[in-house]
């Protein structure tokens, strides 16, 4: 019902080949890197094949989001958010735990990670909210949407999933930026933040698992414990750094091939890539991401209505945040917080969610061209 029954010629025009091409190339980089790290592992169903399945499902999600009307999708934002909140609660109660965090709901042989989808839903919710609610006054502009964000944020931090939690805040901040905040309000927010920071930090710190605290410690002091808590950060820096200008070549990354680098196919896949392809490869990948985001911003800038613009901006902000934080953490600029690299890292929920988001983005472009239907 949500899918348009009529696909007119202008709809096909909106199918942006540059955009699709960039997505396909970045996805290929991901599959290749995942293959490189895991090819020697003896598993019945290899990771790269699974990732291809996720990409296939992601393509379906992309098409669904692309072909629907984003106004209709936005109308479903609140109920969907409610469902997601319930799922996040369920995760806490019965979720599958991995590395001390409960983030997954098992579905047969697979595991579904609601917090990944929560990011996209939050974009929808906030875009929907701002396109409808009066822009007057900081109560409506800052506090009420903040109250919408809060339950999701708390549930996610409780898992704890620091990365998704920060993504939530990033989306909220991007939205605030888009609707414009008066400097007075901004001042109050900043002041409150500074005042509340110690308490919030205390809360967050207390909710963190030991390993997460130690990661933060290791970040603050890199020599804190190179064999133990700082291990990820150090091994990742070694992988990236030892790639030097032109890399060690495909399958040549000793850090990843010999398993010095943990989670080489998921959160640290960028380090694998950087080790194999060097600084040259890194620049190419960064260029691909910039191009993708640039095209996305273009779509946001040409959206026909505020809902479209806000949706597009929110999605771009979310993707940017993930790319920057993921690469930044593998390169030792930020503490390690567990955010996958969009379209590159292995993972069903993240791949499907990212592709769905991009489908929605392209949908916004399509609607710009079909004013009436």
């Amino acid at each position: 019902m949500m899918i348009d029954r009529v696909i007119d010629s202008r709809g096909l025009d909106s199918f942006d080949l540059r955009f699709m091409g960039l997505i396909a190339v970045i996805l290929s980089v991901g599959v290749l890197s995942i293959y490189s790290v895991t090819h020697s592992q003896d598993t019945a169903f290899p990771f790269y094949l699974k990732q291809l399945v996720w990409i296939l499902l992601g393509t379906i999600a992309f098409l669904v989001m692309y072909l629907s009307d984003y106004h209709k999708i936005a109308r479903l934002a609140y109920p969907t958010y409610a469902v997601i909140l319930i799922m996040l609660a369920v995760v806490l109660v019965m979720g599958k735990s991995s590395r001390g965090a409960q983030r997954w709901i098992p579905i047969g042989p697979f595991a579904f990670q609601p917090s990944e989808f929560a990011k996209l839903v939050l974009v929808l919710v906030l875009a929907n909210y701002y396109s409808r609610v009066s822009r007057a006054g900081w109560l409506h502009r800052v506090v009420l949407p903040g109250l919408i964000v809060l339950p999701g944020l708390l549930l996610i931090l409780k898992q704890p999933d620091l990365g998704s939690g920060l993504s939530f805040l990033a989306v909220y901040a991007a939205m605030l930026l888009m609707v414009g905040v008066r400097s007075k309000t901004l001042g109050v927010i900043l002041l409150l933040s500074v005042m509340l920071f110690p308490f919030v930090w205390e809360m967050v710190w207390a909710s963190l698992h030991d390993y997460q605290r130690e990661r933060v410690m290791a970040f603050v002091d890199p020599d804190y414990d190179p064999g133990g808590k700082g291990y990820h950060a150090l091994q990742s820096r070694i992988a990236i750094g030892s790639g030097e200008l032109s890399g060690k070549g495909l399958y040549g990354g000793t850090q990843s091939q010999l398993k010095f680098l943990p989670e080489g196919h998921t959160d640290f896949v960028f380090a694998v890539y950087a080790e194999e392809w060097g600084f040259v490869g890194v620049l190419v990948l960064l260029a691909l991401f910039i191009a993708l985001i640039w095209v996305s911003l273009e779509i946001a800038a040409r959206a026909k209505d505020t809902l479209g613009a806000l949706l597009a901006a929110g999605i771009v902000a979310m993707l940017c945040f993930c790319v920057v934080v993921n690469i930044g953490m593998t390169a030792g600029m930020f503490p390690i917080v567990g955010i996958p690299l969009p379209l590159v890292s292995y993972g069903g929920s993240a791949t499907i969610m990212t592709m769905a988001s991009l489908g929605l983005l392209l949908n916004v472009k399509r609607r710009r061209l079909t004013l009436f239907y």
Binding site: A174, I240, E244, T254, L258, L297, T306, C320, G328
Partner: protein, 623 residues
């Protein structure tokens, strides 16, 4: 729809703010690129080194020690494969847990493992040897726990083995892990923790040659320290092989002759110095000592009051007793103190001041000349000539025969004994020499001490007409890779300043000792033997018959001999601790050794060297 939301006029406003996102994005990506440039380009080489260290461990490949053979190529020491366990600390995540685990798997004290892990050079990347000679069961056990034991490696190495067990143990010595103190020394600079070095015997003396050179292997490991791929970058070089002068059969015969008694038998070829056998009892099994011993086992060996580790042939210092009369005879004749026909009256005692020095024979020998004095070992005769000569003349000749100094045999910790003189006493005791002490010295008692090897050399020098050849244990060293064999030629130690007539007289007298003197029990039907008995007193005062005296207070029995008398090819010294008289206890042993030798090498009866005329033995050194 209520128009309270953002309307389309706001859209432009909204979209203008996207610029902030764009600028922000570019800035952040530029920052990322800068960071990556810093990591990969500026610090790239540093991280490359780190990643190399991450994955490669360099493992030392221990060389195989050179083999040791006897003069006929009989294998005395070889190597057998064995398992050794190494630990690379870099790959160990939880050291106390690993120590505890290894301790229980290998049945070792945790402190022992701890100590192994904390000694050695090369930092955490250098694997430490924790244990060698693992049993197959232990090695399998470790292998099956492979995944829980990161950083643990089992290497196949060659392990020293002595096929003959305790045979020739004191000569061969044993090997052991290089100690922390040794590692500090320049000689061991190319070694590392876990290296095996010779700790005793020729294994120690020739360690440099036998040791070989270690090689190196680069092992690629994964994050858990498990071996993935190995590249040998530097092959180990096996040590040189040693060819000893001893005859393994004769060695065994000599050791069996001593049996459970304590003592030493040295047999050498007086013409070239080849040591044919050198037995010391009690012995030990070098296979056992070359393993890692527990503290308790070590203490047991070291504190054993029979001192099995002591090589009595080179380290035992005993009064020579009457065997010293051989030296006395040469000294007395050459210093013109007496002539061969000078007669001395022996009434069974020699009065000096208010003290009477007894002859061993109650009632005395009557009037004796040099010949008879030697044959019957008349003490009074030698008291008299000794008194006439004075201690310094005695010392001078004793030194010419090589006493009081190292023979130079290729064994560590050789002792030299004592040749007393006025100068010696002043230096050693800070006292003048008392003339009465010369009387004791004249019959090889008092301060005089010698080693069995020195006495074998003395009698060999007599047999060789005064030419003293350095005793040697190693004929040749062979480089196994090149097949090059370096022979050690016989070395002349010196020529005793005696006239041929003097030597002839002494040799004739010594032959008579066996045929009609104190050593008739050494008489052989196979070969003519010349020799001299000796009894070295261990306690000053004893009364009653020998068998009533507790064993450890009984005298040491000596016998020195050579054969065949006409053209000597073997010189033997026998010392049997607490066995009483040389004639009864030691002489038969010497005879058995000589007969065994003659049976094995009948050619020596004609004065031909053992094993026929070989190049090295053919060299009759000239002076």
């Amino acid at each position: 729809m209520a128009s309270i939301g953002f309307n389309d006029s706001d859209l432009l406003d909204l979209q203008r703010r996207l610029v902030i996102l764009r600028v922000g994005l570019l800035l952040v990506v530029a920052l990322l690129a800068l960071r990556l440039w810093h990591l990969q380009i500026r610090e790239g080489p540093y991280y490359r080194d780190l990643s190399e260290n991450n994955r490669t461990r360099s493992v030392v490949l221990e060389p195989a020690r050179g083999l040791i053979f006897d003069r006929n190529g009989v294998l005395l020491a070889n190597n057998v494969p064995s398992f050794a366990l190494y630990v690379t600390l870099e790959d160990v995540k939880d050291r106390p847990a690993l120590v505890a685990q290894l301790a229980s798997l290998l049945n070792l004290e945790p402190e022992v493992i701890q100590k192994k892990l904390s000694t050695g050079k090369g930092g955490k990347l250098q694997p430490r040897k924790v244990k060698d000679r693992l049993t197959l069961r232990e090695a399998t056990l470790i292998e099956s726990h492979r995944l829980d034991l990161p950083g643990v490696m089992i290497q196949v190495e060659s392990q020293r083995n002595y096929p003959g067990g305790p045979v020739a143990a004191h000569l061969l010595g044993y090997v052991g892990e290089v100690s922390a103190d040794q590692l500090e020394k320049a000689d061991f600079a190319d070694l590392h923790q876990g290296s095996v070095v010779g700790q005793y015997g020729v294994e120690k003396w020739f360690d440099r040659q036998v040791r070989g050179r270690a090689g190196q292997k680069s092992v690629e490991v994964d994050a858990l320290g498990h071996e993935k791929r190995a590249v040998v970058s530097d092959k180990p070089v096996a040590g040189d092989d040693l060819y000893l002068t001893i005859d393994a059969r004769l060695q065994k015969t000599a050791e069996d002759l001593l049996g459970e008694e304590s003592g030493a038998i040295v047999a050498l070829d007086p013409t070239n110095g080849d040591i044919l056998a050198m037995a010391s009892r009690p012995g030990f099994d070098p296979n056992m000592l070359s393993k890692e011993l527990t503290n308790k086992q070590w203490v047991e060996i070291v504190q054993n009051e029979r001192r099995p580790l002591n090589n009595r042939a080179t380290q035992g210092q005993y009064p020579p007793g009457s065997t010293f009369k051989v030296v006395m005879a040469a000294a007395a004749l050459e210093s013109n103190t007496v002539t061969p026909s000078t007669m001395v009256r022996c009434n069974g005692g020699y009065q000096f001041g208010n003290r009477l020095f007894h002859d061993w024979k109650q009632g005395g020998h009557g009037s004796v000349d040099m010949n008879e004095a030697l044959i019957h070992s008349c003490d009074v005769y030698f008291y008299t000539v000794g008194q006439r000569m004075g201690i310094d003349t005695i010392a001078e000749y004793a030194k010419q025969f090589g006493l009081g100094q190292e023979t130079g045999v290729e064994l560590p910790s050789e002792r030299v004994g004592i040749v007393p003189s006025t100068a010696w006493k002043q230096k050693a005791r800070n006292q003048p020499w008392y003339p009465g002490e010369t009387i004791s010295a004249a019959i090889g008692q008092g301060y005089v001490t010698v080693t069995p090897l020195q006495m074998a050399s003395v009698i060999g020098t007599v047999a060789n007409d005064g030419l003293s050849i350095k005793p040697r244990l190693v004929q040749a060293v062979m480089n196994r890779a090149t097949g090059e064999r370096a022979e050690f030629p016989p070395t002349v130690r010196g020529k005793v300043a005696v006239k041929p007539a003097t030597i002839a007289l002494i040799k004739e007298a010594l032959a008579d000792v066996v045929t009609k003197g104190t050593a008739t029990r050494a008489k052989s039907s196979l070969v003519t033997i010349g020799g001299k008995t000796g009894t070295a007193q261990t306690a000053a005062l004893r009364t009653g018959p020998e068998k009533d005296i507790p064993k450890k207070l009984r005298d040491h029995a000596w016998f020195v001999a050579f054969a065949p008398v006409e053209a000597p090819r073997i010189a033997v010294a026998v010392l049997a601790e607490h066995m009483g008289h040389g004639g009864s206890a030691a002489a038969p042993l010497a005879k058995d050794v000589i007969e065994a030798y003659v049976k094995a090498y009948p050619e020596v009866l004609n004065g031909v060297p053992a094993g026929g005329r070989t190049k090295s033995a053919d060299v009759r050194p000239k002076t």
